[in-house]
Symmetry: D2
Subunit: 295 residues, 4 copies
């Protein structure tokens, strides 16, 4: 299949390589050419304009946030109409529900095909082609992307007709992680005051009721206070919690836990933890309880 | 081994039977004799005084809360001294840290052996001898209980010397469940407003990041609004969150998520949901967002 | 003095009339001309373009929100430069700190004079020339406005050089009102359960520790459940709390009470109270406690 | 009138003196006799048993908390019956609703007269006979106390038949102060980040919408960071917020602002501010926003 890729960040690069490995003809575009260096030698077609990436069967965009998506797809109002009618544009970015809706509308108005398909998984999962893909949009369009998805992910979940639904699932999934961090933070803080080691509690939790990946990973990061270097930086975490709050506010849904976490992450920023992993939210909780850092 | 059991509630009864099945000599006492009916025919020794249950190798008490524990073990100040010196008293109740500390002190003063060993698992897990046992106390005393624990649980976790530590682990484990309910409630409420089915979101979450038992069970209960009949009643849930808040307050730890859940469960009680499962906390969240009940 | 007025809403109209009454030469512009009807007969100069209003000593804009301010002053990039160099533009709107900063910058770049001067007081206070004016900006520019301020307000407070400071004071003042509503709501709900009349509690509070206007007014509105017709509509209240949260977030300040009130007002919107006074936030609190409406 | 006084703390001592100044015959009892030293020379009758204080027209008890009240009035079950039938016992302590109800019940069972009359006012207001008295109980009994109340307070508010109602008013009044502190703390923190002086904001607030005593006093204490020496110590503030939460919980009322303040005060304790004024809650808020202490 002919697959274009726009955006060669920490996720885009391994995705492009896995598409090639999957037997697809891959055309990539990145705003700064440096990221594409060497890809040509690997057999990937590198182009200097996004227009050239949007003529195949599928165009995957892997941009960082609302602003980057807006810059490429909306600020240049010739771009979406330039996509080939057969091309399905798959946006994999974690963006706001509002931006998701604008993108959908812009494609619909231009008569172009749009699928939203954010992923769960960090760069190492992308490299291992183990991403979880959450797709929403016209069913036929999503089906057309299946060969590409198979090359980069371990499983695709189809959520529904409206592409925005996939954005929502991704946003709420991240909120669930945020809440996991906050919850471990509070539990650990109290346990430490009673001399129960967070690691001991974690072992019990993950071997009984909370055996999922998020609890294993974040539970350990927090128990061991491994906040630097960050896997996912504090400001990105705050951004994602804000996406949840905005999506909820737009539909008059109170999300008090999200509000609370927003406040805690804001305090983390104020305390100068902006370069740490967002799990350092637990550090804020520990400090509020008068607990010292582990040495 | 000679094992006494005090308290034949929904958990105590299957525990007693599994002890018998495990080859132990079992002596049971219950305040109301009716619960013990028929047990003699099964081969269990039924006694009419708690004193008679506390002369074996292990005395397991499975009482419902602080008040019940206080009534049996503390209000009668002759009872603990009446235990045989070799007997290890194992309290499996979910009680407050403060009551746990009082029990520990009372046994120590009387020179008697005390282990705290609350369990994770509902009555069906008790019946299947699949409980998770969280034990704390003198290591030799805990070891002495191993044959009994093996007959009733699938795994024992040893937390530390001070019995109160096990109470804390149990309390914080329940807090983690409460937070799971609240988090699903908030996420589902927003998703429903965007026409994403809670069940679809749940399938994605449990197959990716949140594959543990608590998320599978409670995620489904809430998605399907299966709040009656209750698996664990609202007031018990509120009681457990209060145990977390009290334990935290006693050591000056703020637990804002626990406070928030306390407020939501309080509203559930005010709305008349006291007979429902504590997962109906999610119903409060849905109503606060103006969402109708599923039909 | 020559005073222009842009915006003849519930506040702008009485302000224009009081300026005339104060002996000033008043020129008004409103987007929809209907609002200006009859003013010419009163002696006010009505113009059909905002350009004609910005040539006097002072131009007072009384627009409703960020969007309206942006439409008039920023979207037309010829407008600010068209102001006479001697004219001081006084923005009295309750706008975001971010918009305040953009306005300030746009005036500075064009070499025009800008003062921010939001007011405390409802339309009746505006009609009675009893507004409280909170002014910030270049001191000389603020002084130049004194004759106009004297005609419309009872007192002017000068906050500092940077016009944004006045926006902040207004935003935080409104947050204090919001918190007053929430606080009364919670206290009344508990008191009602103990058969203490909110009105009795209010009388005690306002005669002892809380004798200010906000407590007298809002305490009575809530005690009497006078939520319709609204004095200040729910969505405006929510907007103002959001202004506080945004200003705080921009500087990494957690405002947990504001977050909490945001959630409660959001629930009020979800419950269909969008046409009620924002004090109906107390109705949400009462319902959460299972309390009936007063008949 | 014959008036007994039990409890010669910071409030009891000036109250006793003002009763004497008001022309009453005053009999005082204090657990530690030292506090009564010198009073005999002033003309006050000092007795060595509480029994001797409860034979006049009115017995005013001014004890510090639930525990002190319980010690004197409930632990000795002969004490209440020993009161003269004509004596009205007036409890002025800030106690829990639950303790208030127990006291009421104990007096009723013994056929003795009981009025609850907590006060608003600090020791300096007590010395100046400027207390505000909030009284509840049998109307005739309250009326009987009027001459005593006139000698010590500036105004008495009658709340209702059930003495517990007065406890509730006092508890909720203190909650309103707590909320005022929290609200100022949040507003000041944001304002400081925009270079607006808290003192400037305070002047505007107290001259416009928030002119009451609580705002003037606490607004200034926080703006000036006058947290030591304490006027009202942190743990007492936390105790009072807990009284509000307990009273609310007993009737299934969520009080989210009270919960939030509970968490903040808990953090204040954890940070080591237990010897400071409870207004240092604002210090917690400032620190959470990364703000330095004023020098």
């Amino acid at each position: 299949m002919d697959v274009g890729v726009i955006g060669l960040g920490a996720m885009g690069l391994p995705v492009a390589r896995n598409l090639l490995k999957g037997g697809h003809r891959v055309t990539v575009y990145n705003r700064t050419l440096g990221r594409a260096e060497g890809l040509a030698a690997e057999g990937i077609h590198v182009v200097e304009s996004p227009y050239a990436a949007g003529q195949g069967d599928v165009l995957i965009s892997l941009l960082s946030d609302d602003r980057a998506v807006e810059a490429v797809f909306l600020n240049d109002d010739q771009f979406i109409p330039s996509l080939a009618p057969k091309t399905v544009h798959v946006s994999m970015a974690t963006i706001s529900a509002a931006m998701g809706a604008r993108l959908y509308e812009a494609h619909s108005e231009a008569g172009r095909q749009y699928v939203s398909a954010p992923v769960f998984g960090r760069p190492d999962a992308a490299a291992a082609a183990k991403l979880f893909i959450v797709a929403a949009g016209d069913k036929a369009a999503v089906d057309q992307c299946a060969p590409a998805f198979e090359s980069i992910g371990q499983r695709t979940f189809y959520v529904g007709d409206n592409p925005v639904m996939a954005n929502l699932v991704k946003i709420m999934g991240n909120f669930m992680i945020a809440s996991t961090i906050e919850t471990f933070g509070e539990a650990y803080a109290t346990l430490r005051k009673y001399d129960v080691e967070p690691g001991a509690f974690l072992e019990i939790m993950t071997n009984t009721l909370f055996g999922g990946t998020a609890h294993k990973n974040y539970g350990a990061i927090i128990a061991e206070e491994r906040f630097s270097p960050p896997g996912f930086k504090m400001p990105l975490g705050l951004k994602d919690v804000n996406l949840a709050l905005e999506a909820a506010a737009a539909k008059s849904v109170p999300m008090p836990t999200a509000s609370l976490i927003h406040d805690q992450l804001t305090s983390a920023m104020a305390r100068g933890y902006g370069e740490m992993d967002w799990a350092a939210l637990a550090q804020v909780i520990a400090e509020n309880a008068g607990l010292p850092k582990k040495s």
